[in-house]
Amino acid sequence: MASVATDVAARPEQALVLRFTAAERVAHWVHFFAFTVLLGTGMFLYVPWFQPFALGASGEAARLAHRAAAVVFMAAPLIYLIWSPREFFYSLKESFSWGADDWGWLKNAWNYYAHGRTGTMPPQGKYNAGQKFNALTQIVTFWLFVITGLVMWFGRGSVPPDLFLLSVVVHDLSVIATVLLFMLHIYLVAVHPLMRESITAMFEGTVSEEFAAEHHGKWLTERVFRKRKDVKRQT
């Protein structure tokens, strides 16, 4: 992270805007932590290469860790909801609002992310169409994970066998969907040259106004600046 931090420090004259509240950042990293542990421990049962880790006591430990991480995984959105309900519902509403600019994002995405043609990209809200898609998938798969996971956890032997097997199938499909998005997510924040600054937002909460203008123009003008004007009017 040091390199990103010094990046920002090297341009001290830049105005910073708050992109993610403390609640959002904590919930994000708790979710990230739980997800990676769930993925790591679940993989022992899924991937035959990892069979040595699935055996006997090691497999029992992995399954126990999977359950512990599942509790944390289920708690992460609650942290967000209770700590920062306003941002929670704002983000939720945003993720479900799709308009012309979102289809514009989809049309321009490859040109933008591969060739850096920024000109034709319509301005985006707090979340661009890709991030909204990620959020929606996370919401859907969250419930699928919780329901199927709890069926496998507590329904063993008491639910009809086909329901148990269906749960494993749906659990696995959710794993595949989230892993694909997770790979894309990691690539964009950690590897892609245009997006370097976005990860600062998740560590420090802020991004430069320039980054916000380029990547989330609509949000900057319609929410951040308007809020500032509200603040001014009050004082």
């Binding site: 035959p48 006997g56 497999g59 690539y187 600046f225």
Partner: protein, 279 residues
Amino acid sequence: MSQITLLVDASKCTACRGCQIACKQWWDLSATKTTQTGTYENPRDLESNTWSRITFHEYESGGKFQWLFLQSSCLHCTNAACVDVCPTGALKQNATGFVSFERDLCNGCAYCAEACPFGIPRMETINALTGEAKASKCNMCQDRVTNGMTPACVKTCPPGALQFGERTAMITKAKERVETLKARGYPEARVYGENELGGLRRMYVLTAPASAYGLPDSPQYPVLASAWQNVIQPFGYVATALAVVGLALNWVATRRSRLNHVESLAAPAPEAPAEKEEV
């Protein structure tokens, strides 16, 4: 290695339950406290410490009444769903065809118990909250048969209702016995397990339809288990591999276009208020 089969001739079974006890004795399985519920059948279900038991059934057909007794236990399917879903290899198909079990390898996931078309494996639940458990089922006396002996139940059966040997010989015996039974007034006599699920290594001679013994008439490999093993899991690998290729292509494209952070900021920022404030 030659293929083995345990032939259960239900028509010879007297329900003495010697096999039930021999199994417990050989495997050192604890006894279960049973209760009288109006039938000699006890315990009423397979348990993690009861791998085999005799079930009792009444059957009437063509004005003739029959007491039916059946040794109920793992059928040792050739196409064994339990083996396919087991993530540890605790359940394995032996080269001779039976399904062996290695308790130390089991991590308690219970996939086998849910996938078995006959509902055979039982979970010994150690802790329901943490999910700690061990599967258990008949392993065809894997230690005995791999050393040239017959399973303990076969060894003990007084009327010789249980036989153990090479599969084709057992099939021939079973068919001959069915003919004999038909001639002796059991028109519904049949072999169960010659072709079911690729061939059951515990094969039955029955004198009534399978369902009269509590067996499924046509057992099926569970569709969801094969979808999971043969479609979903491979799909996961392919999708992940494609994603890696896609991301690599994008990365190459960004190199080609010489994208970098500073250039990307060339776009003019929208009008912003002069002073800097915390939001």
